[in-house]
Symmetry: C2
Subunit: 229 residues, 2 copies
């Protein structure tokens, strides 16, 4: 009876601490302290630290990704094989994250920061904990994008999808709210305006034609006048 409460209190506390300090930076003792439980309770319920992170993450990610796939299914059914519009695909990918982030933030939760942070944990940890949650979503959305953007090589679609994920995770960490420059306004990342802005940015970026292979990293930048070095 109290076991369920205990388990959820541990999950809540761990979610917050992992989000704020990362995996290595969070001690199990700090979790027990924040949750008001005993150290042994964590090992009883989860077995080990890494398994705790796995459950913390899966608790939110699983329903979120189901919702993403549900929306994509709906779009593809409606499209009847004609290819789903890019904006709709991106919307189906991004909106469930934002919904969940917003709803949980209202309860004081920090899922948004966690998902952003977990992406930058050491690779081994990510593969052990996070990868399973995203394999299907990645494949399904990549396929949908490739069909929608038939002119774009799959490798390029994949690359641009990584840009989308970069924008998403960086926004979710909300780091710039404090690390950014205050004079330009501490806008909330999860506001509706911000989501619309993100969607417009990403859709336009995704559609950008590849430039006529002009400059390369090796060349200098295209400054006309001023000399350079």
């Amino acid at each position: 009876m109290a076991s369920v409460e205990t388990k959820e209190r541990i999950l809540d506390a761990a979610e917050r601490l992992f989000a704020e300090r990362g995996f290595a930076g969070t001690s199990l003792r700090s979790v027990t302290k924040a949750a008001g439980v005993n150290l042994a309770a964590i090992h009883y319920h989860f077995g080990a630290k890494e398994a705790l992170l796995r459950e913390v993450f899966a608790r939110r990610a699983a329903p979120m990704n189901q919702e993403r796939l549900r929306r994509l299914d709906e779009l593809e059914t409606a499209a009847q094989g004609r290819g789903v519009p890019l904006e709709s695909i991106l919307d189906a990918f991004l909106r469930p994250v934002m919904h969940l982030q917003r709803d949980l933030a209202a309860e004081g939760d920090v899922w948004g920061r966690l998902i952003g942070r977990v992406y930058s944990e050491p690779v081994d940890l990510v593969e052990a904990v996070l990868k399973d949650q995203f394999v299907e979503v990645s494949r399904r959305f990549m396929d949908a994008l490739s069909r929608s953007l038939a002119d774009m090589p799959p490798a390029e679609v994949h690359r641009r999808m990584q840009f989308v994920i970069g924008v998403l995770t960086h926004s979710l960490t909300g780091l710039h709210r404090r690390a950014g420059l205050p004079e330009y306004g501490g806008e909330n990342v999860d506001s509706d305006d911000s989501f619309e802005s993100m969607l417009a940015f990403l859709a336009a970026g995704f559609r950008a034609p590849l430039r006529s292979n002009g400059a390369s990293v090796a060349e200098e930048m295209p400054v006309k006048e001023a000399s350079e070095g």
Copy 2:
């Protein structure tokens, strides 16, 4: 004499380990082992773990940011107050990172991964270690962008600049090379093609008009029929 060598060996080893495992996940003992030096040598040369991170980061970031500012100066001089084109500003911001990343990667260095990772360290650490390196660059580029995009509110410019940073840092971590789906090609993030793709994506995204305030996060997504793309 050997002191300089020792100090640089420590910096090199610490750069690699911080990049791979993060700050909290890296022990000073692991650094000494990788560098082949004594534990006390780190405290002699740097004083404390956080100061070591600061020096590791500043060693690369300082010249990189000077180069960014030099390029921006050049552009603004050439523009004679007429406003620098968006693409050139983004180029000046992004290319020095890519140059440095590519040059160091050729020596087996991992600066790219470090800069990507450091951005996702706990906020307090970022403010203590990283913020100083970027205050001037942020202000200068924000000003240039706001002048170039005179129609866009500064808060929106700031928001979109965060999107740029999200794409940049996520690309630099190179995480998707392993966590992504292998069948779509393990493209190198630092290839010239990838840089051109990023620049085209970001410039187009930055120019995207704000949508006519149609949907909001609270509303449902805009599935009409199945029409167009």
